[in-house]
């Protein structure tokens, strides 16, 4: 099955290459669009949603792409598969949990996906590994143009693209960059940094978007404003703060090495040790320890494991991924045992030869 093909890879956003990829995990841009001749989703009847799904599905399959496009009827998927897509960041939690006709088209390399009947009729998102916002914009703008040439979007001359929620009106654009900031967390500077970002209207979220905790020290920085500025200005605002964040994180890492290299080396080694030997382990603890290991590899404190392997473990040890890879439904206790076993296999003596 197609979904199972995805499970064995690690997807685009955790591939771990691209510029500044020791700190910048991925760049993401999404556009919210609605068709002019249908009500927004909150007022759409069941039959409206069925019509919308049909119309939009046909439109999306016209996107010219050298890669295959996989279309999934989200409403008909099993709970485990929906959770898998959320972990993969291909659909939102809201999309997984809502009702009615809805779907998602996923490019097979996972560089973009298009959700149908989420909060808006269309949510197009492009994800690139590392810091790569300009290329991501070119791609998403092209997809947007292709769809637009065959339909009429809800658009107002003064307010721009009309969206279900006034927080997205105008460009319908959300630009976000995911960063790995373990040293800022260890040195307790993270909250300060975020407060200063909020002052310039940038939002900070955890790994899985709004309301999620910053698991594994991953943070997403994105724009709050969508109206009154051009897409390029909004992208630049986020892009401009990324080098500053990278600089802060590098300084914090330098500080940790300078002030307490032994303490840091100890922390990293212990994390690695637990991951390689534990017999049962939760998802939270795994994320927390993998974060230390990831930083340890980037600082040259751990030599026998590669970053792409660590990145892959972040996603493969998530609950739904673990069950998809194992090919069985597991309860929490069994998942913790399976997770520990998976980690031992990939980080143990045998796993070290794996150069992914």
């Amino acid at each position: 099955m197609e979904l199972n093909d995805l499970a064995s890879s690690s997807g685009e956003w955790l591939k771990g290459d691209g510029p500044e990829s020791d700190i910048v995990i991925s760049s993401r841009i999404r556009l919210a669009r609605n068709l002019a001749h249908f009500p927004f989703i909150s007022r759409a009847t069941d039959s409206d949603r069925v019509d919308l799904e049909e119309v939009l599905r046909a439109l999306i399959t016209t996107i010219d792409t050298p890669q295959r496009l996989i279309y999934l009827n989200v409403g008909e998927l099993e709970g485990l598969d929906r959770q898998f897509l959320v972990e993969r960041q291909l659909i939102s939690r809201e999309h997984a949990e809502s009702d009615g006709a809805r779907g998602v088209a996923i490019q097979e390399c996972e560089q973009y996906s298009v959700m149908i009947n989420e909060e808006d009729h269309l949510r197009i998102q492009v994800m690139h590994s590392g810091l790569d916002l300009d290329a991501a914009w070119d791609r998403i703008s092209h997809i947007d143009d292709t769809i637009e040439s065959q339909t009429t979007y809800a658009f107002d001359d003064r307010l721009g693209f009309l969206t279900a929620c006034p927080t997205n009106v105008g460009t319908g654009l959300r630009v976000s960059v995911m960063l790995h900031l373990p040293a800022l967390v260890i040195t307790n500077q993270i909250e300060k940094v975020f407060r200063s970002l909020q002052k310039i209207s940038l939002a900070v979220r955890g790994l899985y978007g709004e309301g999620s905790q910053a698991m594994g020290d991953f943070y997403q920085i994105s724009n709050q404003i969508t109206l009154g500025r051009s897409e390029q200005e909004l992208i630049k605002q986020v892009a401009d703060v990324v080098p500053v964040m990278i600089d802060y994180e590098r300084k914090a890492r330098d500080f940790l090495i300078r002030e307490s290299q032994q303490k840091l080396h100890d922390r990293v080694s212990r994390a690695y040790g637990i991951l390689r030997t534990a017999q049962t382990i939760s998802s939270e603890e795994t994320m927390h320890l993998l974060s230390s290991v990831r930083m340890g590899v980037n600082l040259g404190l751990i030599h026998d494991v590669a970053i792409p392997t660590v990145n892959k473990l972040f996603i493969h040890t998530q609950p739904a991924h673990l069950q998809k890879i194992r090919g069985a439904t597991l309860d929490t206790a069994d998942r913790n045992i399976e997770r520990a076993s998976y980690l031992r296999r990939h980080l143990g003596r045998d796993g070290n030869s794996e150069n992914n």
Partner: protein, 179 residues
Amino acid sequence: MKCQQCDKTATFHITELTGGKPQELHLCEDHARDYLAPTEEESTASIPALTGILAQQLAVGETAEELARLDQKSCPVCGITFLEFRKQGRLGCPHDYECFGKELEPLLVNIHGETTHTGKVPKTAPGNTHEKTRLIRLRREMKDAVRDEDYERACQLRDEIRQIEQGGSPPDQTSSPRE
């Protein structure tokens, strides 16, 4: 040096620059974390709570009577009332931006600081948005007609919808020539 708030060693030395003259703080790890954590006010401010902003805005300059009347106001196209929008924070159709334009204006200023789009514009200019929103209304009327078992009216509406969808204006409509 000891932490200013307990007996542990102070490992964090913070210079606070806000509020006039610099203030020195010496704290242990635990107290530093507490100090650096955002206050409740700051953390809730991070994601603009739409309904909160709305409630705040409407509380200023509106009497209870005016508010009640405003809440009853509904969109002729999708039927959503302002009260429903206030409760769920989501609009019902594109026409709501026009219908509730006056009420939404201060909200948009609060969220975005601006009210005029300066970004990308569709290549195929949506010259007939009006006609499109008409479709939404017609579909709703058709559903109502079916519900009321007025099948003659429903058929009429269905034909009208089809005609617009296929790109031709219905005969009884005084619409501008199509591009």
